[in-house]
Symmetry: C2
Subunit: 438 residues, 2 copies
């Protein structure tokens, strides 16, 4: 895109309403605008980030044979009465009446709806296991929305739901999903550490939170360095091989990791001192195994192997997609702005024309831009070099391709890596090859 | 996908609640399920259709330099008070109170929000024209929702909004969008005829509806065959060349076309009899030019070329994305089921294993399936051949690759084209090449 023609309204000043760095930077970099308390519009650059995150989440869900569906945002109150949660859920549930005075609600989560859809169609244990997920907007009527998209009211979430015949099957599905999450977060360019967690309002017996380490995190975290340092992409786990899954289980369940809520000092002290890590974390994912809680409450059964009716064992698995955009910035920024991981950056590179109007500079910029107009942001504005450098740092493109009159004459550009600040002079084609390979 | 492992719950019987063919077929083919009155969940095959439609719409919007954003589903009532529409809008608007008794609404359209976002950021005529769009769920509280996704309450719509300096600019944008729509619908595999229309609650001065021809359509249509027979993909129009745009204008504005509401019998009778076409149509798109209606009402101005304040001229442009899934079925089906256009089919082909369990058949099916597991639906169920044929016809895959024991021995398959019923015996690789080229 050409910046001069783009709807990417950057701000020079820090907006007064933003208390944390990710909120400030998302507003300043023109990614989002608030349209009502805790409700945001995603502008073109922000939407690219949101879509890049969603796509990685989707690919990793598909990899473990989860099937994507799309449930609506509004649900009927009656559905929630069947599980008993309609009255139990507090004022965070947005309750709505339609023109016929029928009670609806804006879904904060979808256990009831997916269980009902499953029950309408699946009749036999032979059709299990099934994992269904969707990526959809949800609403929680926070009493005091803040921190931008980190604690908004309307938010985008990936939620998956699994159905298994028995406890062993459910546990296997749970660990397949846990592995999928570790891969997902690593591909997003951040490390999220899985920690045993309370089950809260979803209920259930086993639960892990995934926390990105960031000093502004809402929870204290304690973990064994061994857990955070593993490479989940490099050592593939065959999710269909029970032995491989057992080894994987040992890699994630044995090392210590807990939030302050679940912290066990005695266990912590068995971790070698040099491997103990303490800090703060932002929750970006949460997985639950809760057995037959919803299938029994809603009386959704299938035929079991013995012909008797069987209540499927369920789990649910969430990733905060819109929250991740903020959380990743909390974990990856400096005093000049955002540092986007390559995998989710809205643009791979900015093209900085230091002398717009100069024939050679303009021609070289156009040539570079033409190589990948959808993934480059070409700063063609008639602005001073300083403004362009500052905006590129603020927006956090992984690469900056800098074109000045001297270099243009020689067919050379300066290539800057945003994360390290490293700069190198390169021939145009070499710079292009490097950037487009990423 | 393997059908035995898929959440694609086909139905043998016609569901009683469905009055029109697209609703019946969408339920029977396992594309959607109703979760509340006029509200639907999209199951895996249905979501693929929805996403394929969205992607073509997106590509054609991007082609004319419209920029994608994503506005939230909920809006503040105060925003709508600024245009005067909050009180004017009838009971189709879903009005909501949050926990602090602040008034919200589920957006039925976004003129107010986009005008406000535009006004916050754009300050000068130099930044125009701008076209912004999003693809987002909307809600209209229909008094009597029916016809499945054709007249649902929660529906997916692409809505674009344009901002221009003056009338001439706005008109150029309007015709660029009109062209974009013609290309979009043609790529979706249907013909939608543009017709002059009333401006209704959006207001304004110039408006076209796009109607897909189908006998169940809600409007009568009268048009010159010349208009419907043009190929918008084959004769590219340079949208940046005023002469090219003028020629295009003559191609679409001169031939007669009107819905019964706007029908002009005197003009109609000037169309040569052999070119007169009458029928019924389903509205799938609607575009409006309404000038400064919203920018003036909301007092959103920018600096004009003469330094004085200027109210930008606007238009808005909708495509009913979820409605299209139904409308395309209305226009493309037979007594056995759906006939998906290649461009939006959930799967390119079904692989029909006529003898599951037979070693040769299974091996050949697996080999074909492995060539494109994401785009083939492999019917690996232990069902009779007749059931598999019927389900494949019902689901409407463009191709069926039929594998039986005799052919498997010879490395031959039968390839059936759903739209024509044409069958041919082909070597496996030739069949694969033909299907994957489409």
């Amino acid at each position: 895109m050409r910046l001069s023609r783009s709807f990417i309204p950057t701000l020079k000043e820090n907006p007064a309403e933003a208390q944390i760095v990710s909120h400030r930077l998302m507003l300043r970099a023109g990614l989002i605008r608030q349209t009502a308390s805790g409700i945001y519009a995603w502008l073109p650059a922000g939407l690219r980030v949101l879509r890049n995150i969603s796509q990685i989440v989707r690919e990793e869900q598909n990899r473990i044979d989860a099937q994507e569906v799309l449930m609506p945002t509004l649900q009927s109150a009656d559905l929630w009465r069947r599980s008993g949660r309609y009255d139990a859920y507090g004022p965070e549930m947005l309750r709505i009446q339609d023109r016929h005075k029928r009670e609806l609600l804006y879904g904060p989560t979808n256990e009831e709806m997916i269980t009902d859809l499953f029950g309408q169609s699946v009749k036999s244990y032979k059709e299990l296991p099934q994992v269904l997920y969707h990526i959809q907007w949800k609403f929680r009527d926070e009493v005091r929305p803040r921190f931008g998209v980190m604690r908004g009211r309307e938010f985008l979430m990936k939620d998956a739901y699994s159905f298994d015949v028995d406890f062993d099957g459910a546990l296997t599905t749970y660990y397949r999903m846990l592995l999928s999450y570790l891969r997902t977060f690593q591909r997003l360019g951040v490390r999220a550490v899985p920690m045993r967690a309370d089950t809260g309002p979803i209920g259930g017996k086993l639960s892990h939170e995934f926390l990105i380490l960031a000093s502004t995190g809402e929870s204290g975290v304690y973990y064994d360095a061994e857990l955070a340092d593993q490479d989940w992409l490099d050592k593939p786990v065959d999710v269909n091989d029970p032995k491989d899954m057992q080894l994987f289980f040992n890699r994630v369940m044995v090392p210590y990791a807990a939030t302050d809520e679940m912290h066990d000092v005695a266990a912590w002290e068995t971790v070698p001192v040099e491997r103990r890590r303490e800090g703060r974390g932002v929750e970006v994912g949460h997985i639950f195994y809760f057995g037959t809680k919803y299938t029994e409450a809603m009386d959704i059964s299938i035929a079991g192997p013995d012909g008797n009716k069987l209540y499927p064992e369920m789990g649910s698995y969430g990733i905060g997609v819109s929250r991740l955009a903020g959380a990743i910035i909390e974990a990856s920024h400096d005093e000049n702005g955002i540092i986007w991981p390559d995998s989710i950056a809205p643009f791979k590179a900015a093209i900085l024309n230091l002398k717009s109007g100069d024939e050679l500079c303009d021609a070289l910029c156009e040539r570079i831009y033409a190589a990948s107009p959808d993934t480059f942001l070409y700063d063609d504005r008639p602005e001073r070099a300083g403004v362009k450098f500052a905006d590129a740092d603020l927006m956090g493109h992984p690469w900056q391709i800098v074109i000045g009159p001297r270099g243009a004459k020689a067919g050379m550009v300066e290539l800057k890596r945003r994360a390290t600040g490293e700069r190198q002079e390169l021939a145009v084609d070499d710079a292009l090859a490097l950037v487009l390979a990423g």
